[in-house]
């Protein structure tokens, strides 16, 4: 079932949603689009996607876990977990929505990460179809359909009109809650939009890029000589991992404030020299090894452990943000053995 806003402006729609729950949506800033809480006057970004990915909603860069209070020789343990209130995220693109599925496989499988789960449960995700995909987009390489982005509610803007299709129970409930703003829409409009988007995607320069199935070639790929050459110019910074919607590694650290110790977790990056540093040793000493790990994980190990699902969603952020323009596309072309046919 698809609905359409009943003759109202987007902002009225946002106001209504925000009157009930916190609503987050991409807005334009001087420094690119980013998710912000909607308040009166904020408008939806005109950009295709946000600088940082939407994973921040469920897996923030820094998450307090527990505090230890020191009083003389006594230690008191204080749980700092805060109650998570229901919220709505609007405007998530197909790639980021697909990334949630990747993260779910990590955080919601056995030994559920309760910090992640709480936030995930509290969120209603309204995706937005990509009317104008960019040349750095390659979600289709991983079977992601930017014309049907998924989430709890699938939204699309066709000639400035907002169409909403609930896909899950949460989505149905959301639509129900604002039913008075909606009217039923013609499915044909939706189908036509999908077709239009698909046609645009097919013309993108990276459209024909397809990852190779390397699940049987783990060792061969691992030992490839290409890694040394590929990683030569890698600076070892974490910008690719930190803008990546699927990177999920974290570190747990203690911060001594002088009167208490705050235990928190924060994003880690496999590009960093102290990643996987243990008491005695680090299994990966050099940048080529670390570089290899990142892409082996996304293109080989993750699919091996997750029914062929890749650890990349083709959002293209790393293509834009790598200081030296190293990225997964260049790696796929070398390692995957798949040529860009264009």
């Amino acid at each position: 079932m698809t609905y359409k806003l009943n003759g109202i402006q987007l902002n009225e729609f946002f106001a209504r949603v925000a009157s009930d729950k916190k609503l987050y949506l991409p807005v334009d800033t001087e420094n690119g689009a980013r998710f912000e809480e909607w308040t009166e006057g904020k408008t939806l970004s005109s950009k295709l996607n946000t600088v940082r990915s939407a994973k921040d909603f469920f897996f923030p860069q820094v998450q307090g876990i527990v505090d230890f209070k020191l009083e003389g020789k006594n230690i008191e343990v204080i749980d700092r977990r805060e109650e998570v209130k229901d919220f709505v995220v609007f405007g998530v693109r197909a790639c980021d929505a697909a990334a949630f599925a990747v993260l779910d496989r990590v955080f919601l499988s056995e030994h559920v990460d309760s910090f992640y789960a709480e936030k995930r449960n509290a969120a209603t995700v309204i995706t937005l179809a990509c009317s104008n995909p960019e040349e750095t987009c390659f979600c289709s390489s991983f079977g992601i359909d930017a014309s049907a982005p998924g989430g709890d509610v699938e939204a699309r803007l066709v000639e400035d009109a907002l169409y909403l299709s609930p896909l899950t129970e949460k989505g149905e409930a959301f639509v129900e809650s604002i039913k008075d703003l909606l009217v039923s829409a013609d499915d044909a409009v939706v189908e036509a939009d999908k077709a239009l988007i698909k046609a645009k995607i097919a013309k993108l320069p990276l459209a024909s890029l397809k990852p190779a199935d390397l699940r049987d070639k783990q060792l061969e790929t691992f030992e490839s000589e290409a890694w040394a050459e590929l990683s030569q110019s890698c600076l070892g910074c974490g910008s690719c991992t930190f803008v990546c919607p699927t990177c999920q590694c974290y570190d747990i650290r203690d911060f001594d404030t002088g009167h208490e110790v705050k235990r928190f977790r924060c994003w880690d990056s496999c590009m960093y020299s102290d990643f996987t540093l243990m008491a005695a040793e680090n299994p990966r000493h050099t940048q080529p090894e670390r570089f290899r790990q990142r892409f082996m994980h996304k293109l080989v190990y993750f699919p091996m452990n997750n029914d062929g699902v890749y650890g990349c969603v083709g959002c293209g952020r790393c293509l834009k943000k790598c200081p030296v323009s190293l990225n997964i596309v260049k790696v796929m072309k070398r390692i995957g053995g798949v040529k860009n046919e264009q």
């Binding site: 974490g238 910008s239 930190f242 102290d274």
Partner: protein, 323 residues
């Protein structure tokens, strides 16, 4: 220019002068060039590029590359040569293992500015005097270069190579740049405004360390921010204080050594104008201790390891600026 460079590189490689060539490699798009070490003429032929998108400063890679035996050829733009000298003066680069070919630079373009202009499917960009010709799949555009250049190139400090073994193209001059204007603008603000300005900027920091890792002056074997024994190690800017700490200390550690190459701001995924912190130090050093340009020579000189008996007192800080 690209052709001349390619021929020269191939010649020096084939006559054995150098064992490899450190240069830029083509990517999937016109703008995504990557620093690379080419060890054969075939690879050069296939991948070498020198375009208005070759902003990356190659000098830092020489730390690792000159540890290896034999000479490596490196192409350095004028501003890169300052970083090169600085690293040589700090004994980080083995000078005898490098063959520096200075290449002229007309300024590098900022792909994001080009995208802002609505240009898509860029195939190539080239200089035409003060203008840039952008060739796209949909046709050609002639644009004013000042609208498309990287910020650092708009206030270029020098077109002169301060170190080279060989020069290709025209040698330029040290320019009278306006690079301190923005620092001066901030200085003229009230402390509260400055505080809010920097909070706004630094709060976006994701602590990806790109600024540090790309910086030729940040070449420590182990950065204190990565060292668990330093007491300041951290992987995330978990608090506004830490954002300040990281950037102030980083700028302080490179103060007097920073050549103002501008790589930090170029690579920041969050577009934080980090170069302003470095420029503030440079401006202060110039004003308080006499004009100084790091990397101008290979001589080991820097303002923070020197002093004069009649240097200004720290109180000078309280007397300057607004509020």
């Amino acid at each position: 220019m690209q052709k001349v460079m390619l021929e020269r590189a191939k010649a020096l490689l084939s006559d054995g002068t150098v064992r490899a060539v450190l240069a830029w490699e083509k990517g999937d798009f016109a703008y995504d060039t990557t620093p690379a070490v080419f060890n054969s003429a075939e690879r050069l032929e296939k991948g070498f590029v020198y375009s208005p998108f070759c902003g990356a400063n190659l000098s830092k890679y020489l730390i690792k590359e000159t540890q290896k035996e034999g000479k490596i050829l490196v192409f350095l733009k004028p501003c890169d040569t300052y970083s090169f000298n600085q690293l040589v003066s700090e004994h980080r680069i083995k000078r005898e293992n490098v063959y520096v070919v200075g290449v002229e630079c007309k300024g590098m373009l900022d792909i994001e500015k080009i995208r802002e202009k609505g240009v898509t499917s860029l195939i190539s960009a080239s200089w035409e005097g003060e203008q840039v010709r952008l060739v796209t799949a949909d046709g050609e555009i002639l644009a004013d270069s000042s609208e498309l250049m990287q910020e650092r190139c708009l206030c270029c400090k020098s077109k002169k190579h301060v170190a080279y073994d060989e020069l290709l193209g025209e040698e330029g001059e040290v320019l009278d740049s306006n690079r301190f204007d923005e620092v001066a603008r901030l200085e003229a603000m009230s402390a509260k405004e400055r505080f809010e300005f920097w909070r706004g900027e630094l709060s976006r920091c994701i602590r990806c360390n790109a600024c540090r890792n790309v910086c030729p002056a940040c070449s420590c074997e182990k950065c204190i921010f990565d060292n668990p024994d330093s007491g300041v190690q951290n992987k995330a800017a978990a608090d506004p204080f830490e954002e300040n700490l990281f950037h102030v200390i980083r700028a302080f550690h490179v103060a007097g050594r920073c050549t103002d190459c501008g790589e930090c701001s170029r690579v920041c995924p969050e577009h934080i104008p980090l170069h302003l912190l470095n420029r503030k130090f440079i401006k202060d050093i110039n004003e308080l201790y006499g004009e100084f340009q790091a990397g101008e020579t290979e001589l080991p000189r820097e303002p923070l390891t020197e002093y004069k008996a009649d240097d200004v007192e720290p109180g000078v800080v309280y007397e300057r600026g607004a509020e």
